[in-house]
């Protein structure tokens, strides 16, 4: 880990309190609470079906939990929708890739600039000078992200034609383009080979380091999680069974049991 961080880990930016979510009779999450500190890399781990993705979907407003609250930037948010969270500065990627398949890599990333686009459709139709100015700024920022992620050579390719690993990168790029303060990453390294995983880790740490973006990630590869995250929360059957630094979590008996299936 970096010895000296440009962005010191600060106060809680995202707090999840007593969230319970069930689908019919199936309980996905039961009374779960944890927090995320500003500028940290926070991992959520747990066996399959532990409720990790459901947790992110609750934070982001895709699922509506039956109980519990989500506070973001010190404010408790009622009626969470993905749109409201995006406007408040929370962006995300998806487990099963949710890219705009028929659009090019550059266009996908440009959609991430939506909240920095203030011109309306009439202004766009008539190509007023301010539209051109705004488009230029957005394109420059997108190109920056593209070169940061080292995907310059595919920027005009339709995303649907790219291999899985690259699509994951594009999705990270799209989340970055929003300039959000918190990014939720749902299994950013699933299905990648060792080299691609190493690259992805590098990007995640670099973003966190250079921009101070708070990262919340779900990951299965324990080695990766322990290496890059500041703190880890462990879910099992929709409950928190461990929360702390990677070392603390590693020595937690409940976590060991859950992972070894005892």
């Amino acid at each position: 880990m970096a010895l000296e961080r440009k962005f010191k880990i600060g106060e809680p930016i995202l707090e999840v309190k007593n969230i319970s979510l069930s689908f019919g009779g199936v309980k996905a999450i039961t009374d779960t609470s944890f927090d995320v500190l500003e500028h940290e890399v926070r991992a959520i781990i747990g066996p399959n079906g532990a409720g990790k993705s459901s947790m992110l979907n609750c934070i982001n407003g895709i699922y509506k939990p039956q109980k519990g609250t989500v506070s973001f930037k010190g404010k408790q948010i009622h009626n969470i929708t993905p749109n409201i969270m995006a406007q408040m500065g929370l962006s995300r990627t998806f487990q099963n890739l949710a890219l705009f398949k028929r659009m090019s890599v550059l266009d996908n990333i440009l959609v991430g600039r939506k909240l920095h686009t203030k011109t309306n459709f009439l202004e766009v139709a008539f190509q007023l000078p301010k539209v051109k100015k705004e488009e230029k700024i957005n394109r420059e920022r997108s190109e920056e992200i593209i070169s940061f992620l080292e995907i310059e050579d595919i920027k005009d390719t339709p995303v649907g034609k790219l291999p899985y690993g690259l699509q994951k990168k594009v999705e990270l790029g799209r989340a970055l383009a929003t300039d959000s303060s918190v990014i939720l990453l749902d299994e950013p390294m699933a299905g990648m080979n060792v080299e691609e995983k190493r690259d992805m880790c590098r990007f995640i740490l670099k973003v966190n380091d250079e921009l101070g973006t708070t990262m919340v990630l779900i990951e299965h590869d324990m080695g990766v999680v322990m290496d890059i995250s500041d703190r880890v929360v462990v879910l099992d059957y929709g409950k928190v069974i461990g929360d702390g630094t990677p070392d603390e979590v590693r020595s937690n008996q409940k976590v060991i049991d859950a992972y070894l299936g005892v």
Binding site: P82, N83, F94, F100, R113, K114, V124
Partner: protein
């Protein structure tokens, strides 16, 4: 390719120039028969414009809608009433306002898209088709209490000058279509179009990026209906020269849908290609019937054959080339280009060997 003027690349400007020279200079100098203007070019431009409207909502925003003709009727009758009751607006003013009235209907009938999708939305949007036609038939005011059922459209007068010859009407349609096509291209290529396509390709992700589904869908429906409304007004005033609700029945909606799909979903030039194909194909079939079989085949049989071939083509395109004729055209250009390139390379190589 860097944009050199506004958002257009050099290639776009060349294309635009070629189209303009073709339509403004070459067509009027070489085509003298009225038939071509009144029966092919004018309806082509009107229907291409309506197809652009259909493209915006279906090709770009991915909302299956089937009611283009309803919006066209709204535009056409709005135009009739505006010219009749608010003569001060002038032709262009009335055209814009009738587009806006159609857009208001578009917003109203686009609202179901927030709750239903796919084939169910298609059924829901059929309401626009039937409601608008019913409304015009039911309330005599819209037809100025004309009992005959068919109203003659007023003459087109722009800035005190009458536009009554087929050629003049062709130019009116051409001007309106050109302006609206350019505006549609600007939107489709800019941030507006990106929002549409984001909603089409993955709505949850679009919402997570801050794209409002409500606003984007309703906006697409409104703009689409505006285009259909203007197209409908032109269709009635320049092509039919009369107004009757029956002209805007469900068959016309389907025709526009076919133009959209055959031309290529999500393309603006596809609207023109699709419209041209569907308009010209029956003409071609008739010509074949008359000249090859010398009228031995009955006209009704020819029109049935036409339906069969359209149906087959739809299925073939859906399976093999969902992006339609615009994509075929693109592929063809690519092939020619690569052939030319390879022949250039060969000639270069052979000249090297000679040297």
């Amino acid at each position: 390719m860097k944009p050199i003027f506004m958002t257009y690349t050099k290639k776009d400007l060349i294309n635009l120039g070629v189209c303009m020279i073709l339509s403004v200079i070459i067509i009027p100098t070489f085509i003298k028969t009225e038939y071509w203007y009144t029966s092919i070019l004018i309806p082509w431009l009107c229907l291409a414009l309506a197809t652009i409207g259909q493209q915006i909502v279906m090709g770009y925003t991915g909302q299956l809608a089937l009611g283009a003709a309803g919006f066209m009727a709204a535009g056409a009758f709005a135009m009739f009433n505006l010219i009749l009751r608010v003569p001060d607006l002038g032709f262009v003013g009335s055209l814009i306002v009738s587009g806006l009235i159609a857009a208001a209907f578009g917003i109203l009938f686009g609202l179901p898209s927030l709750k239903v999708r796919g084939i169910y939305l298609m059924v829901a949007t059929l309401a626009s088709q039937f409601f608008i036609i019913w409304m015009i038939d039911k309330f005599g005011w819209f037809k100025n209490y004309d009992s005959s059922g068919i109203i003659t459209a007023q003459d087109i007068v722009i800035l005190g000058k009458p536009f009554t010859t087929p050629l003049a009407m062709y130019f009116v349609c051409l001007a309106v279509t050109t302006v609206l096509t350019l505006l549609a291209m600007n939107m489709a290529r800019g941030s507006t179009g990106r929002n549409w396509m984001a909603v089409r390709d993955m709505d949850i992700a679009a919402e997570s990026m801050g794209v409002s589904l409500l606003r984007t869908k309703v906006q697409a429906f409104a703009i689409s209906a505006f285009y259909c409304g203007v197209a409908g007004a032109l269709f009635a005033f320049c092509y039919l020269k009369s107004l009757e609700p029956v002209a805007f029945d469900i068959k016309l909606s389907f025709k526009i849908l076919f133009m959209c799909i055959l031309g290529g979903l999500g393309t603006i030039n596809g609207a023109f290609i699709g419209a041209a194909f569907i308009l010209l194909f029956p003409v071609l079939l008739n010509a074949i019937g008359n000249n090859v079989f010398h009228g031995a085949i009955d006209a009704t049989i020819i029109s049935s054959i036409e339906q069969v071939i359209f149906g087959l083509l739809m299925i073939i395109f859906m399976i093999y080339e969902p992006l339609g004729m615009a994509k075929l055209w693109e592929n063809l250009k690519q092939k020619i280009k690569s052939k030319l390139l390879s022949s250039e390379v060969k000639s270069l190589e052979s000249s090297k060997i000679k040297n």
